[in-house]
Amino acid sequence: MIDFGYAPLKINIHDLDKADLSLMDWITARDESFRLCIACGSCTATCTAGNFTNFSFRELCHSIRRGEVEKAVRESEKCMLCGKCTLVCPRNVNTRNIIKLVRKANQNFRV
């Protein structure tokens, strides 16, 4: 590779080949609607919890897809399960179920 004198930061490099996708597989097996997300961010825009803190369901989905399991588990706890995201989702992703599945995965098999 040509060295231009600059490169992406190490922490920003995410190798999907090496990512731990067990959480994503576990969730998709239980709720197919996870696949439907187009990352439009409507959920984040309406989020009750997101009004008070740095919490984004869209980001959470990204974390799951990228295998950032610990981050996903940590973030999921901020949710209040109020259900606004489910109502606004244009793709009918069952968002609350996905949050609960992340919590369950955390308890059941310590991803």
Partner: protein
Amino acid sequence: MKEHPFVIPFTIGLTFVILYTVVMWTIWVVRLTRREKKIIWKRLLTVKTLRGIWETIREGLFHRNIFKKNVILGFMHMSLAFGWFMLIVLGNLEARLYPHGLINPPYYPIFFEFFRHDLSPLREYEEIFTFLMDFFLLLVISGIGIAFFKRYKSKVMGMHRTTKHILIDRIALTSLWLIFPFRILAESVTAGLYNTGHFFTNFLGQQVIYGLPLDQLYYPSWWAYSIALGSFFVALPFSRYMHIPTEILLIFLRKYGVREKDSHSSYTNVELNACSRCGICIDSCHLSTDLGISDTQPTYFIRDLRYSKPSERLRETCMLCMRCLKACPVGIEITQIRKNERSEHQLFSPTSYSYLNGYAYPKAKVAFFAGCMGHLTPNIIKSTLLLLDAAGIDYTFIDRNGSICCGRPLQLNGEVDAAKQLIDKNNRLIYETGANCLVTTCPICASEFKKNYHMSIPIYHHSQYLWELTNQGRLVFNQSNLNVAYHDPCELSRGLGVVDEPRKLLKSAVVLTENSNQTKQNSLCCGGSLAITNTSAFQKSTIAASTVLQLANNTTDLIATACPLCKKTLAAAQNDVPVQDISEIMVKALMDSRKASLSEAKVKMASPKLEVVEEYK
């Protein structure tokens, strides 16, 4: 008296069932909390005991609640319970009036006809006793006949789906059904041989089966009767028929004021055992009627909880809409039990929401709380605020800059510890506003405020508050001939019992028609419930569409509801009938009345409020 070993199966069964009941009753009562025991002692010698006795007779023997659901179904239960009860009572009376003393073994009255063929010592009572015994036997067998028929055509009795029973229930059921045919056989054979009985057994014995070898049938038929009784009694404690002895205890405990708490208790065990698995809850459940999910209803949930632990699917597949609660003839607190069961599997930690520190609501006199769902439907907020303005209320929109969730969704999902944080936080913030009254547009929030916040200030749902203002004459609406059907939100109608205020409010502006009998406390659910997470969007809209179909007919212009979530769910599912919140309808009526009064007076009023009204339009 000629002793015979055929009484042994019955005697063993009866002894077993009585011992088991006594032991279980004792365990349940002993395990109640100290407070519960105290209130029971206190209320033992009050009118509550008499009420308990009355309810035991009314429900245990006559099954009034089932009669209300369906007459044939009620008759079936009544004939079995009351008929059998009378057979036992009359049999005992008969045996005790017989001039050989009051003391006799427990099997003696049951097999009285075997032991005594000549009832003439009863003198003037002979005729009436033999007649009544035959009459009640006929009543019971008619109940069995209907029960048998119900296995194949339950729809006739208003039940589209019935419970699928497990093996022990089937064994107990078969024994129960066999008891009375065997009794008739035994008594008819005896009547054939010794000319006993009355119009029924005597007729059968003397006119119908007289040609059979009655001598050889005599002992076997009494054996069969005794074995059927014995096997029913032995199976009873492990089957659904445990509800018979348990329901009596349940009725009394309930009358004394014992209720389901925030976790499973001894009272829960009484309730679990008092479930007869009649399956009436199945038909009341939207998941069954609209989605075809007919294996997660309370009848199955309670069964699994009684024997072991319900599966995760069983625990979670419920909208907690409380329709089954209203349908249950035994009055088991199904919804609370399921919530408590969920709370034993919490997923959120009790420190989830530490980020909420440092947030405050503004000071207020009348605090208006929109809630999460309210914020998702700005039109409802706007309309309600306009109406409050028009009535001259000095309110403050406390969560204008974002509300903390009331905690109801977490609560419904069993996350009570996480919900507790939100409740504590919100409660303190609302207290700090100094408000003397709280108004919310969301029944979900209102329900949580009322049930778990223990606030000292009155809490109103906006439909209640607006009705109060209208009643005081502070809001005047233009009466239109818009044909409106009202959808009762679950949390408002069954949860808080608010059914009249929204109706009165609507009637002051539009024509309210009830197209379905599934309204008020029996109202349908919109399907958008926050208590369930494992239904898809498609399934939710299927429920909503079916609800709209039942609520509206082709003359309905509009469906009114009083919940932002119901509005969203019902409106998203179909395009035929527009759905509006009660406040939106009322603000329209208010504008019309203002316009009317304006044109009458032909004066242009320069009201800043009115500009907003125009803008809204």
